[in-house]
Structure formats: C-alpha cells, structure tokens
Symmetry: C2
Subunit: 384 residues, 2 copies
C-alpha cells in the first residue's frame, strides 16, 4: 500500500527477474543448504572446493547479491562505512572522500556520508551515533576541530579510522589514524623561498587546536636552520575569505615578501589581497600554497604549491579500516604518501634583490618544476 517503497524486481542484465534472488534460491540451484551458500559468500574455509564452485556458479548464474540489511542484522561482517566530516566543498575534505568512495566500492562496501554541523557536544554525540548505526564502521575526517571532537565521541568498540593532521612530535593518536606528513615539504617550500633570496617567510596557518601543525614545524625548522627567527604564524580559517583577510594585514607590512599559505584557497585570498594593495605576485611578494587543487595551475600567476595526495590518503584510510575489521587490530598509526613541492609561477626573488627577469635557481631536491597548464599532469585528470 501506499506510501512506502517496497521495491522489488528490476535487475540485472543476465537472466532472472523480479523479487531478488536470495541465498535460498542459490542453495536450491546448487543443491546445497543455504548455510553452505552463506559460508561460500563469507569465504569460510570449511567448504569443499567442489561445493564452493557449484555455489559460485549458481550465484553467478542467478545474479545473486547478498542483502546488506540482512547480513548486518544477522551480525555478519561490516559491509559499509560512513564518513564523517565537517565539510564537503573544501578540496582537502572532498578529495579524501573520493578516495574512500573508490576504495570502498572496490571492496564491495557501501559508503555513507554525514556532515558535522554543530560543535555542541550533545549534537556531536548524536551525529556520531547516527553515523555509526547504519554502517557499523567509521572514517572520520578529523582535520579540523569538529572532526576531532566527533572522534572523541566514538565508542572504542566501533571500528574507526581517523584522517588527521600530521601529529606533531610524539603525540601519536590513540585511534588508528592516517595522515600526510608535510613536515619535509613545508620545510622544502620554505627553503625554496629562502633560496630565492627572501629574508624571511611568513606562514598563514590553517586552523589547529594542537600547538602546531607539522607543516608549521617544517616551516619553522627551515627558518631556524637558516638562522632566521620565525615570525608569528598567523592563524586563520580554511577559506579564501580567510586568506584574503590575513592578506590584507600582511600587505601593509613591507617586510613581508614571502608567504607560505596553509592551503591553496588561502593562497588565492592572499594573492587577491596583494592585488588590491597593489603588490604584484611574484614580483613584489611570493606566495606558496598547500594542496595543489586542480585549478591552482590556472591561476595567474600559476600557483606554486605543495601537492598532497588526498585521494590516496582516503584509500589508505579505507584499507586501514578493512584491516582493522579483519585482523581485529592494526598498527595504531600510519603515514601516507609524501607531500611534494610543485614549482610554478607564484614565487620569485624578493623585490630588488636581483635581476627582474627569471633567474636560474637551483631546484631543491625532489621538487618538480611545472610551469602551468601546458605541462599536462601525469595523473588521471578526472575530466569527463
């Protein structure tokens, strides 16, 4: 009646039709009991090769697909994850999500998503519970405070992997976690700027509730190694707006000639602020971003930035989760692909520190020159 949508039928290119084929149909077709079918689809070792193959054949022929709800209800293995995160439109949040989606799809898992909107503890707990219920497993994007808070609300017995900002020093997280350690890349980017002749490099940090981010440490390390006293890092938000606001302040200080932005959107905001203030990038001021969003190379000037492979991070997180649910436990933490400095156009020598034109500069170790849109990317440019 009415209302609800008990769907039935539809189905597959192959043979059958309607009401969906169940484990019992397969059993009948294969001449075994439905328990045996269950064993086969759960990779139980206690099935003879012969029966297994017969069952597999029947499954294939009938187009059987196990019912996730039933499996979950009966206490079967986790078959889906929900990703919990406070943002979807920021590249640094969307790209990992893509990675999780892809990996989960490959593994036959369902993937849900739930946004974190409130920092209120009660709401947070509620959001977490609602996220756990349908999936049984969680991946939380804990780059920001909301994510970190959510993580704390997750009961210990729920299989959970966190994506976090690289932990500074020895503060390893209690939960299985994955991250990209941008210490080296931040250091390299800063060294690159210093190598260009800048007296110092200012840092516009992304939000962090811990003392410092690894990228901040890398930045600081490079400065200290060069015997320059690190200026105060500016704390802001994640967005271009935030970078713009900070940039407006920075623009007034003629001593700042180089800024390492916490991400590409912030870098864009800074460049805009500089533009408005009449300071040219890179002639008057150099700007380096973080992330390498797909459109960063199309800025004018094309953005020099630290590429981070967030998609892979997402995949790693998922595989970590898989491991966690199979072997019960997993190494507590794990570092992911390295970040990588991509040199384009937004950084150059400081004003009147040398000739105006492009000057040859030693490319720092491990960097990869890439001068804008012409040089096609190696990767899959998801451009349909």
């Amino acid at each position: 009646m009415t209302g609800h949508i008990t769907h039935a039928s539809h189905l597959s290119g192959n043979s059958d039709r309607s009401p969906a084929v169940s484990i019992r149909d397969v059993a009948r077709a294969a001449g075994v009991s439905h328990q045996t079918v269950s064993r086969v689809i759960n990779d139980s070792p206690k099935v003879s090769r012969a029966t297994r193959e017969a069952v597999l054949a029947a499954i294939d022929q009938l187009g059987f697909r196990p019912n996730r709800a039933a499996r979950a209800l009966a206490g079967g293995p986790v078959q889906s994850v929900t990703v919990l995160g406070s943002n979807t439109s920021l590249y640094g949040f969307a790209a990992p999500l893509e990675g999780v989606e892809e990996a989960s799809r490959d593994a036959g898992f369902g993937m849900g998503f739930r946004a974190l909107e409130s920092l209120n503890p009660a709401d947070m707990r509620d959001a977490v519970e609602r996220a756990i219920e349908p999936a049984g497993a969680l991946i939380v994007i804990a780059f920001d405070q909301a994510g970190a808070m959510a993580l704390e609300c997750v009961p210990p017995e729920v299989p959970t992997v966190a994506m976090i900002q690289a932990p500074s020093s020895a503060t390893l997280p209690g939960r299985p976690s994955v991250w990209i350690d941008e210490f080296a890349a931040a250091k390299e980017a800063t060294e690159y700027l210093l190598g260009l002749g800048h007296a110092t490099v200012h840092h516009l940090a992304i939000p962090s509730w811990s003392a410092a981010t690894r990228r901040m440490e890398g930045w600081r390390a490079a400065l200290e190694q060069a015997a320059v006293r690190p200026p105060n890092a500016l704390q802001g938000g994640w967005t271009a707006q935030s970078g713009y606001e900070a940039g407006c302040k920075l623009a007034k200080d003629s001593r700042v000639t180089a800024v390492l932005a916490g991400n590409d959107e912030i870098a864009l905001g800074v460049m805009r602020a500089m533009h408005e203030a009449g300071r040219r990038v890179p002639d008057d001021i150099s700007v380096v971003g973080f992330d390498d969003v797909p459109y960063a190379r199309f800025f004018s000037p094309a953005l020099t930035t630290v590429r981070q492979d967030f998609k892979t991070l997402g995949k790693v997180a998922f595989h970590k989760l898989l491991e966690l649910s199979h072997s019960g436990r997993t190494a507590p933490t794990l570092a992911s692909p390295q970040a990588q400095l991509i040199i384009r156009e937004s950084a150059g020598p400081p004003p009147r520190s040398g000739p105006r034109g492009r000057q040859a500069i030693a490319t720092p170790l491990g960097t990869r020159p890439d001068t804008g849109p012409n040089s096609h990317d190696e990767g899959e440019e998801n451009d349909r």
Copy 2:
C-alpha cells in the same frame, strides 16, 4: 551481578548502556507490546494518544533508536538514499550533494554516495544496482552523460529523483526531476555583455548530450534579440583544463572580445589562456562564468558570474524524493531557484569601444553588483 565495571564510554547524555535498546525494551518500559511501539515510531494513526505518549516517553528515556537494517529487512519504509554521480570535486556536483546531505539528515535519512566511473553499460547497470540495494531510493546527479546513462538503468519502481540540466524546449524528463533553469540568467548575462558594447558574445558550453542546454538557448536568445548571429558554441569539458584549451583557440581570434563560459572553472581556464596570450581581462576581453564557486570572487579580476544555488537544488531533490515515497507519486518535474547574475570585475567594455576607465553602465534588471571580496556575502559562509 558482579562487577559492573563497565565504565562510561560513549553514549547518550541520558541513561542507558551498551547492547543497544530495542523495540522490545521500549515496549516493556511502556507496558505495551512491541508492535505498538512499532506503530508509534511509524506514526500509525491507530494508537491512542495516551499509549503513544507513554511509548514516546519510554523511547526518549531509553534513548531508543530504531535499527535501520531491521526496518529495511522487514519491509519498512525507505530510510536512506544513495546519491549517484560521476564527480565529487566539481562544485556543481559537490554542492548539490551537500544539500542532499543536509536535507536527508534533517529527515532522519541515511545518505550514501556512489561514484560513476565507467560509461560501459554493464558497469553502469552494476553500479546502479549496488547503489539501490542498501538504500532503496536514489538521487542521481544527471548533469552529465554518465548520470544520464545511470538514470536509464534504474528500474521504474525504484523511487528516484534526478538532478538534470534544465531541459530545453518541451523535452520534459520521464522521471521526477529537479533543475535550475538558467535560461533567463544566461540571457541576462549575454545582454549585459552586449550592453557593455561587445559586438558578439562567444559561448563555451559545458558538455551536453542533448541538442542544447538552456543556458545556451538563453545566450542565443539574447544575441538574436540583438540581431546578432550567434557564433558556434564551443563544446568542451567541465574543467579548467578544458577552458584553458578552448581559451587558447579563442585567444587567437581578435574578434572575440567577450566569452560566456559554461562554468567558473572553465572561465578560470579561459582567463589563464588569455593571460598567456597577452590579452588582458577585462580590458581586452571579458569573461563571465557560471556557478559562482566560493573562490570566484577572489580571482584577479574577480569573476563576474551567474550564481546557481546548487545546495538548495539538492535539498529540493531530497524533498521531492520524500514526497515521492509518501504520496506515491509526485509532479513529474520541478524547477528550482533562479540563477542570478553577479557582477564583479571580469567583464568590461570591449577594447577601444569607449573610455578606458570604469564607465557607468546601467545595471540590468535583477542583477546585483558585487565588487569582489570586500562585500561579504549574505549567506552562511561555511567557514569554520
């Protein structure tokens, strides 16, 4: 019993503990049968006010939350959607997703996401089936070909709402669908450009497998109304890269002085191409985008563009789905919030058609001047 050292762990500010409270627990607490509890949580009218309230109280006190898997198995109403789409990083795809997420959360629905990666028919059918299985209902982002193909694979009995490109002419879709009709805004944007003095306006279209998009029709209508013969619209992809490639061609033709890009990323690519070709925006060439991505106002020049409220579109899609599952059927189609021209800096008079400085121009009806980052947005700038 013996040591109850079950220490705190998660869970609700309220009372209970562990193994999850079931419908039967609630029934016991309320002194009714579990069926009655079921009726209450399903808003059955056949429950007396008194019992309903007793049950509700018990639910509240125990912190009961119905088990989605069990409900689904037992043939209860749909409680989750999965969104099917080919992309996550494009704003035009990510923003609607956000809208769906929010609306589904408010409605107590779960939300899954599944990406479309292959255009191969068999893969497509498979992807659709996998998406249907766990949720029972679908929202497909059918702005592109992949989405459109997926839509065709969905069995008719599955509650489904499509987000589509505004259908041109009378080709209304067979499925319940939602869209943003950018005809008027595209026409307005084109008129704006024409009003600035451009002899014609070139259009760089987003991909479309139907004859023409509504925005293309709007563009064409404006030209025809001004008695100028529409140039061929250039067909490309969705990305900045694609805009860049087209822009490189356009840059060589000195007759093109104004281009209406299919989206903001394309516009960015075009601007980059012009920059490389030594053509200044907006002095030598005007560029107008589509979408108003959050960072468009931070470009230099800030991008004049047509804002589309994709998030609302997502919400509308979800509510449409809700309606579909409640009242069985729904109006076959529905148009969403209007698109709106946002005037910033990337368009101006054509070269030597007038004075070089800013000239006063009559603001077209319904437009909203917005000169870059300084003017804060009215909306919620999800900037934590």
